[in-house]
Symmetry: C2
Subunit: 418 residues, 2 copies
């Protein structure tokens, strides 16, 4: 195919390393100017394609693009927006092709989670049906680590590292105060359906019996009596108890321990605030003084303590996406394949989008300890390499220096506005 | 006085740098063996003196003591325990002198906040009245930065840095999602009566208009209508609004926006959970999708991102405490004196404990912007140098390597148990 332009979009909740993938895409495209002209980034993700709001990344300096590697959040804006299924209503898909055609876009890189890979897959089929030559490549991203096939998802390793460190630090705090003050500390972490992030709290432990003594997974139904007994046992034996709780923990009847009731664009219930529910329960039933924290966005934005492994993988997957595209692959997503645990070695593979789309990967049973409150040695072997290495951003005056791009839009060409 | 032993205790809420002060005390005492024999640390603070649970720090290697400089929390245990006033009941004071006499302790280093400096002052008077030669030296510590005379308190600079970085990172996250998702983010930080920590959120701003657009201080009564108007204006102009809220924010009638009702040993109301109150208000009254985080212990334990300035000052104050003691000072607390803002220069001075005790230093009016939702240039000049510099702990396998001491107790000598 003649030299064509590329469209790159960030989708769904952002992470501390999604821009590292963007960096990988843009830097690699810049090295292959014979095949790829310009990389246009969607302003606010796929909305940028619909609204013809295309950010011209060629207007950014090499230095700015390099700085994406250490800048958290979505540098071009992301969105929570699910396209309508093309079978029911194909106007959005048709519009995207109209915009792509107007700007000679023949490469589509979609950086997101399961829903986004589904969209990329549908766009690939739609463009084929409509005789528009478009190479659709997914780039995995999700702090939840719930995509199938890839050994891990960029974004997860850094959240895991954040949660492990926060848990270790807070545990030391509680341990030193528990004689007369706080005896129980509850840290709420992300993870709507899958307990990968909560599991990473266990990496705070240096030896058996260390805090956190309890992890609450979405995969394990919450049973109050057994939970309270375990808290009490921990306080009696160690003087304190640290609990890492996933936002998605549910009772046996399937109800979330805490539901705010509002739903996001994908119809998912928006959660938050299970930590105060747990803390209140402990205060009322056991009488222990307690504290709780809700990390929320802090955990997924914490680029200052990102995992070097995660950053490297995020970048490599962006790079691989471009290399796959220019070598003629389409309808695929590059993935991480683990070669060995220790020393940790990995390589890049790829999988068909149609297989990846809309499959959620939960924490395997073999990763959860028998009592349901911890992780197994197997889980630890899996998790440990993902948090390895530090990759500090540059600092000035005590603050990390994150880049803000110019984000200049390309002139619109479509006769119809959206 | 003949060579005598020293007693060092950590008091009240711990910080990410209180052990750096301990490191300063012990390393400096080890250099002055002619004047100071052993440094005994109270197990769980002053309780260690009452219970005759004295940790023999001479049993720790130089390497372990050096590692205290980068280990958060209270390595010997801290406590929230206020001694009874000696005028009313002097049994605790008498007991402490009994223990000190038994172990030839003639130096008392008390590392804590206002309440603890008050205790140190009372013990100084009590020992003088009872003809027991005891050199009482306070070492300032409090994340709240609310001690008088000292330009700043060890512990504060690192929390300020944490809050500034967390706010910058979360703000980037919200900015990139606000088109279709979260429009308001609320971060709750510590600060019961004084807004120093909340103020430090403003350091996230790189230029005027940057997030956080709103800071809620305990010093400024919360007025709902004006607050909601300001949130709406921020969302209308920038697309999103980031709010840093101090746990101690109150309405005009003096009631905390959120009160859990329980009280600590000093009779202070234990707070927590104002962020969900604010978020709920915004959701109901303005309809904006929002997220909230409560940093709680994470902020004061976050040694991984401590301020190098803060660490250096914490160490220096511990060192100065010992130097003051061996040069014959007593009843004093070493303090930080600011020499200049930029370049930032400081030196160590000292102040009488009797003047320091129980005085709380609030954010000056001149530090709060006219609308009550931000800080002034003067405040910025004060705050900026305190977060300068990074001082990373050593990492292994992706995790910070904090020291755990042996904490071996000295054999008891007092005939009476406590």
């Amino acid at each position: 195919m003649a030299r064509a332009n590329a469209f790159y979009a960030q989708s769904g909740g952002v992470t501390s390393v999604i821009n590292a993938s963007a960096c990988g895409v843009i830097e690699t495209a810049r090295k292959h100017k014979k095949q790829i002209g310009r990389v246009y980034a969607g302003k606010n993700g796929i909305l940028g394609a619909l609204k013809e709001e295309l950010i011209d990344t060629s207007r950014e300096t090499n230095k700015s693009i390099a700085a994406l590697r250490y800048t958290p959040s979505g540098a071009f804006g992301s969105c929570r927006y699910k396209l309508k299924a093309p079978e029911a209503d194909d106007r959005e898909y048709a519009r995207i092709l109209e915009v792509f055609r107007s700007h000679n876009i023949r490469y589509f890189f979609y950086n997101g989670g399961g829903d986004s890979q589904d969209t990329a897959d549908k766009l690939a089929s739609y463009s084929k049906r409509n005789d528009y030559d478009l190479s659709c490549i997914g780039i995995p991203k999700t702090v939840d680590n719930d995509l199938p096939f890839t050994d891990c998802c960029p974004g997860f390793g850094s959240v895991a590292k954040y949660v492990a460190i926060a848990t270790r630090e807070a545990s030391l705090d509680v341990a030193s105060m528990c004689e007369t003050s706080t005896k129980v500390f509850v840290l709420e972490v992300m993870g709507r359906h899958a307990g990968w992030i909560a599991a990473s709290g266990a990496l705070a432990q240096e030896k058996i019996g260390d805090a956190p003594q309890i992890i609450l997974f979405p995969e394990v139904p919450f049973v109050e009596a057994g939970f309270l007994r375990t808290v009490k046992r921990a306080v009696n034996s160690k003087g304190y108890c640290v609990i890492v709780v996933s936002e998605g923990v549910r009772r046996k009847n399937g109800r979330f321990l805490s539901e705010s009731g509002s739903k996001d664009a994908f119809g998912h219930v928006q959660l938050g605030g299970v930590a105060p529910v747990i803390a209140d329960m402990i205060g009322r039933k056991l009488g222990y003084k307690n504290h709780w924290a809700v990390a929320d966005y802090l955990q997924r934005a914490a680029r200052h303590i990102a995992s070097a492994t995660d950053v490297e993988q995020a970048y490599s997957l962006g790079k691989a996406a471009v290399e796959l595209a220019i070598s003629g692959h389409a309808g695929v997503m590059p993935i991480i394949k683990r070669v060995s645990d220790s020393p940790y070695r990995w390589k890049i593979g790829h999988e068909k989008l149609s297989k990846v789309a809309n499959v959620e990967r939960f924490l395997p049973k073999s990763f959860i300890s028998q009592d349901g409150y911890g992780i197994t040695a197997k889980a630890r072997r899996y998790l440990e390499p993902l948090i390895a290495g530090e990759d500090y951003p540059p600092f000035r005056g005590g603050m990390p220096q994150y880049v803000r791009l110019k984000n200049l839009l390309v002139e619109k060409k479509c006769p119809v506005k959206w």
